[in-house]
Symmetry: none
Subunit: 213 residues, 4 copies
Amino acid sequence: MVAGKMTRRERERQQHISHILGVAEGMFAEKGFFQTTMRQIARKAEFALGTIYAHFRSKRRLYEKVIETQTVGLVDFVIQEMASRSSPRDQIEKFIQSKMAFLHRNRSFLRMYVAELDAPRLDSGQVLPKAARESYDSLLHHLRDVIRLGIKEGSLKSMNPDVLARTIDGLTTAVAVSWLRLRTWPPVEAETRVATELLLRGAAVRPQERDLA
Amino acid sequence: MVAGKMTRRERERQQHISHILGVAEGMFAEKGFFQTTMRQIARKAEFALGTIYAHFRSKRRLYEKVIETQTVGLVDFVIQEMASRSSPRDQIEKFIQSKMAFLHRNRSFLRMYVAELDAPRLDSGQVLPKAARESYDSLLHHLRDVIRLGIKEGSLKSMNPDVLARTIDGLTTAVAVSWLRLRTWPPVEAETRVATELLLRGAAVRPQERDLA
Amino acid sequence: MVAGKMTRRERERQQHISHILGVAEGMFAEKGFFQTTMRQIARKAEFALGTIYAHFRSKRRLYEKVIETQTVGLVDFVIQEMASRSSPRDQIEKFIQSKMAFLHRNRSFLRMYVAELDAPRLDSGQVLPKAARESYDSLLHHLRDVIRLGIKEGSLKSMNPDVLARTIDGLTTAVAVSWLRLRTWPPVEAETRVATELLLRGAAVRPQERDLA
Amino acid sequence: MVAGKMTRRERERQQHISHILGVAEGMFAEKGFFQTTMRQIARKAEFALGTIYAHFRSKRRLYEKVIETQTVGLVDFVIQEMASRSSPRDQIEKFIQSKMAFLHRNRSFLRMYVAELDAPRLDSGQVLPKAARESYDSLLHHLRDVIRLGIKEGSLKSMNPDVLARTIDGLTTAVAVSWLRLRTWPPVEAETRVATELLLRGAAVRPQERDLA
DNA sequence: TATGAATGAGTATTCATTCAT
DNA sequence: AATGAATGAATACTCATTCAT
């Protein structure tokens, strides 16, 4: 893993693997798992078919690696961003902001991510790369712990922290997914602001409140 | 269309079509579009392969009919429920409640519905049965109009009604989707309550507020 | 067969059969045997599928009936025309003229006729409706007998009459077939003149001869 | 294309392709396009089904390649044979002789060749491999030019050279086609002699002429 | 006789995967 | 590691034919 210690062979190998992963991500995102063929990936990656198989045991495996890589990237980014704040409410805001920003940037991953919501469609039973799932679950656990803290310190309503975490996560996903249907890619800041506002303060007007927009 | 006027032949024909649609819905929901074969559907429906094709021109067509049928059912149900209330806020609540209730009941449709979020995966370009899409869009327009009214009468914050409608719709979907990952099918009432509370009043505690749960 | 003696039922039956034969001929000629479906024929004939089968045991049978009908028509016409002349050479000319005229008129039959040159393509073994074959063979036998007579009386060169009959028949067919490839349907008279001239007097110029055209 | 420069891989590849073409030719000739299945071809060629498709995009393509290959062979052979003579009449004789000899030798191609006379049956519209058609057309053009020359120098009657070329071509085809119906494969020399005699000098006896056979 | 729904064997084609070089 | 020819199971779809009404 440490580049400096690699032989040239090993270095090139890693480059090739990354290259293939990148190509595969684009194609899977664009056309979905079943409608992307290994041959297409090979052609686009400018490698022979056998070479792809030399690096990834199977199409399924390649797909998993793609998701895994991206998921870890997402989780790392979001956790790091959350760490830049201290109060639970700010951390939650950061969760929303950074997740949405990431998905906004990585349109192709967003596509695959949505596809994976539909777990059972691929193999029977298990949804997705265990590694990816575990990584993402750790993020949700982290969010839940932050929520728990917020409830304890009184800055959040006393709701079931698990449900709330799932809901916050779901809402951000849902908003991002709705982008996929739009003709134009909306500015992420505005969308984030609405989601955050909604989650923390709701859509309803309190007697004493005034316009927001 | 009028049952009384149908010949026996026509009556049976309709029954067979409904039967096949039902079987197909279950299988598509369970295993996804690509991993469901026409032969499997035929076998389970206890018809010959050719018979399925006699009623639905292609696998794709069959799939579309399934979604179309269910989508129209969902839209009709939700609009009818909303009509039972008058104030915008109550109507929004009804939207959330009835949509979630419908998806809670129709687990297999929920699966297909999610799959279809991921538009481009099937055809290139268009997502889904135009009929289904148009039906659903009319529901969203209705919701938007209600929101607009709520804003005008001052019971909702002044946000972009389109964005808000998309977000409310997305949130309910997101919550329902999250069910798919759980081991146990959660009671719909509790889930609905959280979603509604969140959307209308948010997760944050106001100074003067007390515990909710 | 005698219309006057038929019941209405029988009369209608015959009309339906003729109608179907006509439709089938057009379609077989246009698209060939394999690319014409029974359903298409039924649809175009405005009968139900089962009705076609009620009249013709199978697709093959229907096809044979079509060819049979037309072949008999061709043979009857040519023999009758030949009978209008007495000298062998005139009879041969009449054979060429009338056969070419018939094929010129019945473009769709011409197509099927050509297809049938390629005997083995349909069933293994036998080419075509025995009835049609026998009918056509009787025509060729007749032509051969005329040739024999011509040779005996010294107006034709002493060639093998069978080979010559086959060749004359083949030539007329060949010329007709060549029409199929042309953009415009050529006038039958000119074509016939060339074929006749060629067959009887050849393309070569004799010392004493002058231009023909 | 240069055998010496090929890698073993490429060399084998070409051999396999030739082998498949040979097998396919035999089967298409024997049973026709529609009644030959790709599986049969694969089985007979002792390759897996997929391998056939790896070399020929589709059944249609394979069929076209077969005809193309053979047509080019026929054209090359005939043109080369014609070139061995100088006078137009001798060249025409050579055309007849060599074309008939080729078809006599390549019975299976003869079958396919006939089938292709029936243009519209396969595709709608265009008949056959453009390459094959163009190749054959060039042969006919060549023949026409030779005829034109013969007319100019006075050794041929002054007929339309295009029509005459088509007719000569048609006659040779017609004779060859007639073989397909015979029980025994007739000696090519005798058949050729009749055809040539007929075309050049006709069947009719001139006053001063005597027996030929 | 006429109908048309039902049947199921048959077919072209695709594509993940293997393996000898 | 890289190559790409070969494999063959899998799959959507067609269509001649049957048969109950």
